[in-house]
């Protein structure tokens, strides 16, 4: 409450500058979007001989972005290409140099983004499932009942002690051979299962450490007040460990985001797999640049989200 009153005037003026900049960008963007030449203008410029319409190698590609459009014809046999960009009412041809390279990257963008979509969704769903499972594993591991704690410890030991890639191969290749009931045909689902199971083991250790870092007095006072073990965990211990959990879970999330690139080895087209196929089909190494930038953007976004979460949960600290 008090922090709002104490906000220095400097922050307000900086905020105003930021608003002006954003507004200016929006206006420029709107103008550019309105005056850009239609797609057909670009496509018509592509010389007929560039376009190889033979078989599957049809290689006239075009993309329409908000503020410009871009079209390319490519002769697959001679590997020559023509690229046209429509911007500000003009059509510009670029065939070499830096602009051509940039245009190439833009051509790859849609494929890369759809790869990124798989990477992100696989990370999120396997993280959610993993965290959910891990709460039970963590509580199980610290249980005093050996019949519960031993299997949980064994699970954690197994999944942390074997390579993730091996676990992925096991789920995708080995399980179907063992039993048809365990067959997972969909690559995404198979990857999800492997990652969620693996994640659960790592998150369980994080949660166990967070729970055990809570002062023993909290357990004692809960006992004195007559709370059951389940109530103590649910109402007292786990809510307190939330804030302590966020940094290591955020870290784990980012690790998983990058570990997901392993799915390219079962040919699931995530960001890494897509990058690799563009790299081999275009024989250009440039594709790694936008791919890595996309990874960085995703990481930065989730780091921001987790930082906000951490702040939200630290009201009482």
């Amino acid at each position: 409450m008090s922090s709002q009153n104490k906000k220095p005037a400097r922050v307000n003026s900086r905020l105003r500058v930021a608003c002006i900049v954003v507004a200016a960008i929006l206006v420029i963007g709107a103008v550019m979007a309105l005056v850009k030449p239609p797609m057909s203008d670009l496509v018509e410029r592509i010389p007929e001989e560039m376009v190889d319409r033979a078989g599957a190698n049809y290689s006239q590609t075009e993309y329409n972005y908000l503020i410009f459009n871009i079209a390319r014809g490519r002769n697959v046999r001679t590997a020559e290409s023509d690229t046209y960009i429509g911007i500000f009412g003009m059509v510009i041809q670029i065939n070499d140099g830096f602009p051509a390279k940039l245009a190439n990257m833009l051509f790859w963008l849609p494929a890369l983004l759809s790869g990124a979509r798989i990477t992100i969704s696989l990370t999120i769903v396997s993280m959610l499932a993993g965290v959910f499972l891990s709460v039970f594993l963590a509580l199980g591991k610290i249980s005093k009942i050996k019949l519960i704690s031993k299997p949980c410890s064994a699970y954690i030991f197994f999944f942390r002690g074997t390579p993730l890639l091996m676990q992925l191969f096991f789920v995708y290749y080995a399980l179907p051979m063992m039993s048809t009931a365990l067959t997972i045909n969909d690559k995404f689902t198979a990857a999800f299962v492997a990652f969620a199971l693996n994640n659960a083991a790592y998150c369980a250790e994080i949660i166990r450490a967070a729970i055990q870092s809570i002062d023993k007095g909290q357990f004692e006072v809960s006992h004195a007040l007559g709370l059951t073990y389940a109530q103590t965990m649910r109402l007292v211990i786990i809510p307190q460990s939330f804030r302590r959990l966020i940094p290591p879970v955020a870290n784990e999330f980012i690790m998983v985001l990058k570990d997901v690139s392993l799915v390219s080895l079962i040919a699931l087209s995530d960001l890494t797999h897509t990058t690799r196929s563009i790299n081999s089909s275009s024989s250009s190494v440039l594709v790694f640049i936008p791919a890595m930038i996309i990874y960085l953007v995703i990481t930065a976004f989730f780091t921001f989200v987790f930082n906000r979460l951490e702040k939200r949960f630290s009201v009482y600290q």
């Binding site: 004692e220 006992h223 007040l225 709370l227 109530q231 007292v236 809510p239």
Partner: protein
């Protein structure tokens, strides 16, 4: 009628004998102060009462009902489960380290147990708990998180939280030892008015002034034994045991 009574309570940690045959009896409305040097087993004794420690052997009676009987680390008998839970709640405990729930406001701290253990409705619990906060003089701090309260205020919230379960007997384990000297008074005055309102209390404390003025009965514990006990006038002015005399000389 004794509200709380122990017979030959012993507690061992490994080979360390911390409590040796403690017999104690607390009558309804009585304030018992336990004093003694560090390591005497005072905390362990209090904690054994509400089962934060399990006694090695001995009997504990609550309301003249045999609550727990153990010999050689084996439970001979214990009241059945529902009664066990009910009797446990007859003892409220206040800790040296307050142990407030840091993620709950003062009011939420007090309301948590009545709502979840006694299944009280939210509205009833809030009314009860605001009343208790008022009683410890913190009505206006209801929505503060513990971190924003002084040590003395935190301990008063902790007392209100224990009272919310409507205990018959309150156990205090050095409730003022973690406080700055200028904050001790406010907590002691809450405890004093609690005693005046007729609450049965067992207080482990190094506050000799409080023991002298408020207690009906003072127990001097040393090396796991009750070395001397009696009314405060006797213990403080005419102690018989040389250990008591030595201890009082060192703290007064």
């Amino acid at each position: 009628m004794a509200l709380l009574r122990t017979e030959k309570v012993c507690k061992r940690f490994g080979t360390l004998e911390v409590l040796k045959n403690i017999d104690m009896s607390v009558e309804q409305g009585e304030v018992v102060c336990i004093i003694g040097p560090s390591g005497a087993g005072k905390s362990t004794f209090l904690r054994s009462m509400n089962q934060l420690e399990t006694i090695t052997s001995g009997k504990i009676f609550l309301d003249e009902e045999l609550f727990l009987h153990r010999e050689n680390n084996v439970t001979i008998s214990r009241v059945e489960q529902a009664e066990y839970k009910r009797l446990l709640l007859e003892m409220g405990m206040v800790f040296q380290a307050f142990n407030l729930f840091p993620h709950k406001t003062a009011l939420e701290n007090i309301m948590l147990a009545p709502i979840n253990v006694k299944k009280m409705s939210k509205a009833d619990a809030e009314e009860l708990c605001r009343g208790l906060l008022d009683k410890v003089g913190l009505a206006e701090k209801a929505d503060e998180y513990p971190i924003r309260l002084s040590g003395g205020q935190q301990q008063r919230v902790a007392i209100a939280r224990a009272l919310a379960m409507d205990p018959k007997i309150m156990l205090f384990d050095e409730p003022t030892s973690a406080l700055d000297p200028e904050l001790v008074g406010e907590v002691l005055s809450v405890m004093r008015s609690l005693a005046e309102s007729g609450m049965t209390m067992v207080v482990v404390s190094h506050e000799m002034g409080f023991a002298r003025e408020v207690a009906n009965h003072v127990i001097f514990m040393c090396d796991g034994l009750i070395a001397e006990e009696g009314p405060p006038s006797m213990i403080f002015s005419a102690p018989e045991n040389p250990r008591t005399r030595q201890f009082l000389n060192s703290v007064l």
